[in-house]
Amino acid sequence: MLSLIGILIVVVGFILRINPLLVVTVAGLATGLAGGLGPLEVIAAFGKAFITSRYVAIVWLVLPVIGLLEHAGLKERARTVVGRLHAATTSRVLLVYFALRQITAALGLTSLGGHAQMVRPLIAPMAEGAAENRYRELPEKTRFRIRANAAAVDNIALFFGEDIFIAIGSILLIRGFLDQNGIHVEPTQLAIWAIPTAICAFVIHCTRLLFLDRKIRNEIAEKADRT
């Protein structure tokens, strides 16, 4: 039971909005101590785990080129391009990206997306640009809502697309785990049974996206009323 103290620290820390790095570190050290490690052992275990997880930070290597292109007007260009498509609305831009992201992920092409590479420089400016095109100036609240939706589309389409591809990490993990327990399953079977949920994800989230244009329109009208 004592080993659950880390979870408690994380929950309380996030609620109190203490710096998450500090919260997570304290939670990690406390969990290690509760699990019976000595103080120096805990620090060493934390350091070792941090070092072996460095691969998650490699995505930051894209920042120099993305920054360079932003300086040269990449976001502005993405907005202009969308502005020329008269049928483009925020909902439609995000729907198209959702479909592309989910399909390519299902084919194993999970790298055709990502927040640093695609959402910040291209997708979010396009989704914002589609709304700006219609309403000129957007209130900040609306601008932030559109950006958050762009990030959510990238996540949801990825999560519920990639599991249809047989060589993805989660399928390999399931297979390995079941193998250890004496149950042999085929990766193709696992991938097939991910399809019903993938379809539900598409239907649910795309339906919600269809309402986004209306929400944006209401927020603009609300602001116009007040001024």
Partner: protein
Amino acid sequence: MITLEHIYWLTGLMMAGVSIVNWRDRSNPRRFNNTAFWGIYAVTFLAGTYLPDLVSGVLVIGMVLVASIRGLGQGRGESATRDEREASAARWGNKLFIPALAIPILTVLGTVLFKKITIGGSPLVDVKQVTVISLAIATLIALTIGLLMLRPPLSAPIREARRLLDAVGWAAVLPQMLAALGALFAIAGVGNVVSGLAQRWIPLDHPSAVIATYAIGMAVFTMIMGNAFAAFPVMTAGIGLPLIVQKFGGDPTIMSAIGMLSGFCGTLMTPMAANFNIVPTALLELPDENAVIKVQIPTALLLLAANVLLMNFLVFRH
């Protein structure tokens, strides 16, 4: 052979550059904090493989203290005004998309091709890490294209990286920190305690109740751990296999496939999955760090309900 280690050196060099640019920037009131933070981070990339674990641990704690005691600052924002960027965008037109789109396209090409390229019998890149290495190489090529095309001063890429990385701030390190937390959870056996609690307190004598417990448990446990991969073995060994498969005769393939996806519903709802949920709010400069989670919660809950229904419907049909 190109391995992950080489990519770490490259990342370390970039972090060191970011640290140096911060050191020289007097417009940032907390420039020495930023210098120390990214500087220590650079050391973990450049030397991490060779450092004793205890030294790494002390370095990490040093970073956390720098980031949380007085906090990181930012230099003055954009390097060009909006008008300048509009003018540049008009000048370069759609050519600007070439380097940007080169990153994902070359990454995908690399993951396919590098597996086939061998030099003297050994592969050119470490096949196990092919995606990450491809991403790094694709980025270098895209940067070269960008530099040849735009001809900025040579220090521009690292100054731009500094601008973006400082905008993201400490959130850039959070995913890695959470992965470390997950490792300590595993050492302390947190998973077994949680699944033990679930087994003791939840009525598990009806198939539908068990399925709901398994799917919702996957989501909740994923929210706690920040990662469905950590939740899956614990929940499946604790509830899925003994009850759904052995006691009620459910199909393990369908159960596992939908169980994992129920976990992904949890990923959408937790700040612990920082690289998906917190990092983008920093990257997109949103004031509310839970903004992305708030958008995702309705979809996640509806989809979790759909998963419970699907599993009920499908798992006993064979």
